[in-house]
């Protein structure tokens, strides 16, 4: 499977390697640019009150016209500091508009290594998709998982199920379960299973920090822990119950 994804991606380095000339120009010219740029605004700043048009060579008039990349929205100079996947999208435009900013020189070996790593990752992912459900659980054990957070940000979270109770209106208790999604358990299924097992209400809800949770009416923490362990085969050492503000293993 790795070999399927590889050719498409490897395309990029070979394509970039075809144009070494702009690359070397880029690396040569940059220090000079740096010096010029440093000198420019620095002196401009000193004489700013006088009009700012007293630059060393050509008089600069403000406002400068600023160009932004149509793909990532950043100034083109900073396109290459995007993630690799975003920068790949910027590249076609950047090659047209600012060929000197496409750093052919910069770490082709590094790029290939990254691609290789990605291909391996991809392979692992597809393999586990083909395998049975407990294999999926096994792969989720292998490391922290990426969880989407508010504002499109992602955060790595260790795969574990945390069960805590909370109070609703008056003395009503609810049991809240966080982390089921990390084990590829469908939350609506889990809620349904709870309804059946406990004969109580259970819903899928979003927590304040935008995680998907299952809310069960009543205090069912330990019962639910048994349910996820037995029905969904989640390893018992990854199930935690929060009691009197401390997080403990559900099955010590």
């Amino acid at each position: 499977m790795a070999t399927v994804t590889a050719p498409a991606d490897v395309d990029t380095p070979s394509g970039t390697a075809a144009a070494p000339a702009p690359g070397s120009a880029w690396s040569d010219s940059e220090p000079a640019d740096a010096a010029a740029a440093d000198a420019g605004p620095a002196s401009g700043g000193g004489t700013g009150k006088g009009g700012g048009a007293s630059g060393p060579a050509a008089p600069v008039t403000y406002p400068l016209v600023v160009e932004y990349c149509p793909m990532c929205g950043l100034p083109p100079e900073y396109c290459r500091f995007n993630s690799k996947s975003v920068f790949a999208k910027c590249k076609p435009w950047l090659k047209e508009a600012h060929p000197q900013l496409v750093p052919e020189m910069f770490g082709e070996g590094e790029l290939e290594a990254k691609l290789a790593a990605m291909a391996v990752d991809g392979g692992a992912a597809t393999a586990s998709a083909n395998a049975a459900a407990d294999a999926a659980v096994a792969s989720s054990l292998s490391g922290p998982k990426l969880v989407k957070r508010a504002g499109g940000r992602s955060k790595r979270v260790d795969p574990e199920i945390v069960i805590h109770t909370d109070q609703r209106k008056g003395r009503k208790q609810v049991t809240i379960v966080v982390g089921l999604d990390l084990f590829d358990i469908k939350l609506s299924d889990a809620a349904k299973a709870c309804k059946k097992a406990f004969a109580s209400g259970a819903t899928v809800a979003k927590s304040a920090d935008n995680r998907d949770t299952v809310e069960i009416q009543g205090t069912r923490a330990h019962e639910f822990a048994e349910l996820v362990r037995d029905k969904y085969k989640v390893p018992s050492e990854l199930i935690f119950v929060v009691e009197s503000k401390s997080k403990k293993r559900a099955f010590p």
């Binding site: 740096a34 740029a37 440093d38 700043g45 009009g51 406002p63 600023v66 100079e77 900073y78």
Partner: protein
């Protein structure tokens, strides 16, 4: 400061402000950013009503009548131009050039550490402590972030570690993604 900024969630109110307050704000900006003088009329014409947006975290954002963010400050702190404005008028702030390796971190909101300002490709203007500065990549025309120097340039040149510039607003943060606040 604006990493999690969104117009819907972070802005608690936008209002046109009284002309007396407007004069005070203009005077303060002019005092802090003297280089703005010849361009102030172009940036924010006197006759236009400026809009002040209140943002979570006691931040005030001074906007053009079209709700384009131009300057911001915290409580009564110094005014700082937004990156989009600074890009058009780079003379507004002193220029602090960081090392290549720091760029990616600064673009994720990290403060600029002193070592990032000391490499051979880094270069810094002379600024006093607490100056508002623009942060640039080596050889770049466009600012990467704006922030406040926590150390004077002379101190940055002598110490070896710690935070040099507090990152207030950087490329691709929430405020950057809002060319207007409407």
């Amino acid at each position: 400061m604006f990493k999690r900024f969104t117009v819907d969630e972070s802005v608690s109110g936008q209002s046109q402000i009284k002309s007396s307050l407007q004069r005070t704000i203009r005077a303060k900006i002019l005092e802090q950013l003297p280089a703005i003088e010849p361009y102030f009329e172009d940036i924010l014409p006197k006759k236009d009503k400026m809009v002040l947006a209140k943002v979570a975290g006691h931040i005030n954002v001074v906007c053009s009548p079209a709700a384009e963010p131009l300057f911001f400050n915290v409580r009564d702190g110094p005014y700082c131009p937004t990156l989009r404005l600074l890009a058009k008028y780079p003379i507004l702030l002193p220029r602090m050039c960081v090392d290549d390796g720091a760029i990616r971190h600064v673009m994720q909101g990290a403060d600029v550490m002193v070592p990032g300002l000391k490499s051979p490709r880094a270069a810094i203007d002379d600024v006093p402590r607490e100056a508002v500065v623009g942060v640039y990549g080596p050889g770049k025309d466009h600012p990467l972030a704006v922030g406040q120097a926590l150390l004077a340039s002379s101190a940055i040149r002598t110490v070896d570690k710690g935070v040099g510039i507090e990152n207030w607003h950087f490329l691709s943060d929430g405020l950057w993604k809002c060319p207007t606040l409407s």
